[in-house]
Symmetry: C2
Amino acid sequence: MRAVRPFITELDDLQNKLLEMGGLVETSVHNSIRSLVDRSDSMLAGVWDAERRINRLDIEIDEAATRLLALHQPVAKDLRFLTASIKINSDLERMGDLAVNIAQRSISLLTRPSVGPLIDIPHMSRLVELMVHKALDAFVQRDAGLAENVVSSDDEVDELKDSISRELVQLLESGKTPVHTALDMIFVAHNLERIADHATNIAEDVLFLVKGVDVRHHHLSLL
Amino acid sequence: MRAVRPFITELDDLQNKLLEMGGLVETSVHNSIRSLVDRSDSMLAGVWDAERRINRLDIEIDEAATRLLALHQPVAKDLRFLTASIKINSDLERMGDLAVNIAQRSISLLTRPSVGPLIDIPHMSRLVELMVHKALDAFVQRDAGLAENVVSSDDEVDELKDSISRELVQLLESGKTPVHTALDMIFVAHNLERIADHATNIAEDVLFLVKGVDVRHHHLSLL
């Protein structure tokens, strides 16, 4: 028979699982881009292992959150923590898929001659990894300031993606870069941007958790 | 003073709001692609109106689900319905963003000469609209068979996207199609595929709701 565990311990476990997912996403993104910089696929195998672990955690977290809602019928902060966990879990699971997409583009790029410097992609990746890290830190520490910092970084990532895309379109138009190479790089930047969007979603959930105020679609209040 | 409304009425309201979001997504996708076929932007304005409405509904649904969890502390099917609603809501909100992305690509494509036939994009769009429609129908009717049908359609959409992308890469390589035009079309297909992925997520949530079995990452059970 399984011993009944205190509610607070269960909540801690849930949080630790979300943190583990965040760490796996961060490492997968880092290794996928690193493999492009080093032109080596040695770090890529870990990305698929990480995705399998992320997919298991996704199911475990949903089950645990639903079970805790049913058993403990929490209100106020604990209830908001559990609904936030369900949403953050879903973001992290998709970030794991996006990291795999990047790794697949990396493999494709490694089979072809180097396009030369990777433009701003490594810089963009560092920003995105940091956003993922800070969003999870903000969650653990219930730190609204850090969450706001993540939300405001999203614009910088969007601008970087736009400038990287413009450069790659020019390369395509010049006819000097193979189409597949430029397209793979456009999609790497695109996937990094989507990971940043999910980190922003997490930060917005943290703001709701801490402040009890929904900051999504905040422009609606001006309508 | 607001009269207390029966729990069952509140659950119905929540479901109707999710249905309204699904209808808005379906219409927005349809109109964005239709505008490409007709080469007319007259149907596009409604896409932005739809997105504003979707964003309002997103907030209303999250608030209602959290309030109902706190007030009624449901168990079993009602609890699963509410956690599924939170997840389906988040999928629909992102589908609304993706429909706007498609509309933006359509505007960009309408400013340039027609690329000629739109390859399989209108066909792919019809499939995706149908998936969205069926996923929401499956949710309302708690119809596991229909939900499974949605999940199995996802492969067909993926194949269509791959074949459309291949054709567009060939057009790019031939140098006969302007880079921006081909890229916009690649991203239209890409966004349609992502909408299909979200419809699949909804169908998987319906299967969990009906059967109480988590079908996501089902390959994990073979490990």
